[in-house]
């Protein structure tokens, strides 16, 4: 196993270097605002950005809007891309920067739906299980709505997306310790909020 680790760079260095070069070229085209480059990045990274957006906002429409904003702002954001992280991580960090507005609108929409008592129920083969899962997810979304944005982002990145604190810190553009602190406070508050909701 150890020998394989040592030999791996020799075998895989060429493709990795060429991939990095390709990414650099792609970023250069993004900086020039080429539509084809944006479409290329979109096709490659839509799933990642959309998954993060959906997990963060808890709302399909808000997630699509956030994805839209991320890719529309990509040409200008690419100007400050230094290649220190992967393009995927960079896209998620753009989503974090644009999330505030969408989180507010998603929370408003959720609150309005609950007030009107017509929360959409999933139609699936196992409705009982799905309903309880949906209820739990909704409870967590409601609790997340009460968190500051930064703590919410830290929780979604580390707990929902299973990213390391280092990666989350890189995306949020803060020191790792800060990311850990935010996660700690987020979890503490969420526990209290879920407990409160359970006792109701």
């Amino acid at each position: 196993m150890r020998a394989l680790d040592l030999l791996a760079p020799l075998f895989f260095s060429r493709p990795t270097a060429s991939a990095a070069r390709a990414e650099e070229e792609l970023v250069e085209r993004l900086r020039r605002g080429e539509s084809s480059a944006i479409a290329e990045v979109y096709d490659e990274h839509y799933a990642t950005v959309r998954a993060f957006a959906r997990r963060l906002t808890g709302d399909d429409a808000a997630a699509e809007d956030l994805v839209h904003d991320v890719f529309v702002s990509l040409p200008s954001a690419a100007q400050r891309f230094r290649g220190e992280s992967s393009l995927k991580t960079f896209l998620v960090s753009i989503a974090v920067n644009h999330a505030r507005h969408h989180l507010r609108s998603a929370a408003r929409r959720r609150a309005a739906l609950e007030r009107l008592g017509r929360e959409p129920l999933p139609d699936a083969p196992n409705p009982e299980r799905d309903v309880s899962r949906a209820a739990l997810a909704r409870a967590l979304d409601r609790a997340l709505d009460q968190l500051p944005v930064q703590q919410r982002v830290a929780f979604v990145l580390c707990e929902v997306e299973d990213r390391s604190a280092r990666e989350a810190a890189e995306i949020m553009g803060v020191p790792e310790a800060t990311a850990r602190t935010r996660l700690f406070h987020a979890k503490q508050k969420l526990r209290a909020l879920l407990d409160e909701e359970e006792s109701r």
Binding site: G33, S35, I38, A39, Y42, D43, Y46, A47, R50, A51, R54, R55, G58, D60, A63, E64, V67, H68, F71, V72, P75, P122, A124, R133, A134, L136, A137, A139, L140, D141, A143, E159, V160, K187, L190, R191, L194, D195, E198
Partner: protein, 279 residues
Amino acid sequence: MNDDVLRAATRALREEADASKGRGAETRARVLATLKARRARKLAAIRVMVPLAAVLVGSVAWADATHRLPSVWYEIKQDLGFGREEEEAPAEAMSNPPAAAPAAKNVKGAAPAEAPAEKAEAPAEKVAEAEPEVSPTPSEPQAAPVDAVGAPMVAAPKIAAAEPPKASAPSETAEEAPVAAAPAPRVDSDDALYRAAHQAHFVTRDPAAALAAWDAYLRAAPRGRFAPEAHYNRALCLVRLGRTAEAERTLELFASGSFGGYRKAEAKALLDAMRGPTP
């Protein structure tokens, strides 16, 4: 217990998110349409702004080359209402850009504002008394004889104010000196220089002293409110002193409209008289 609930809720949230179907194609089309529209807007803005900028730059360059810039600037300020404020506050106006104000413009509303400050203390009766006296009003055309070359009588400026009776010249009796009933502005050194030059020019009629005084005023306020008048009167002094070449150079500027329409006709007439009938 709490940790279990939080863990279960997190898993549920992840599964819910994963189960939701994205509208990738729709959002892709939206992104590309937004980018296209943005690019089109940028292009349209460039298409509008570049010709506008070119016209603006061209106009300014043309106005500068033809010495029309001061008068154009004055017109713009008047249209925007800044000129009026300046007239109300002459002290501020002194430090502002050149005021190649045509005399006709000054006649309308500027006269009371142009009164030097010390005159403000003069009572209204005194103002009325002072009317027939020579009052250095830059806006009012007044006779300034140019005997040296036998040129036609040309207008000389005077200050619209209640000049104390000391300044008197029978030939230059003002017919229409406006009554300065408005509160007068404060006196500053430029005003004093202007008055001294006016005194030398119109009252003591000493062209050499007047020339020196006008030069002193123009040195102190090269872009002052009365600068065009000072330039014109300086040219008259040069004519009287026989320095016709220098006088012609200055009068040419007036005749060519470098100071707008101010003294244009008089300068032309004076130049014609100086040069004599063309064969």
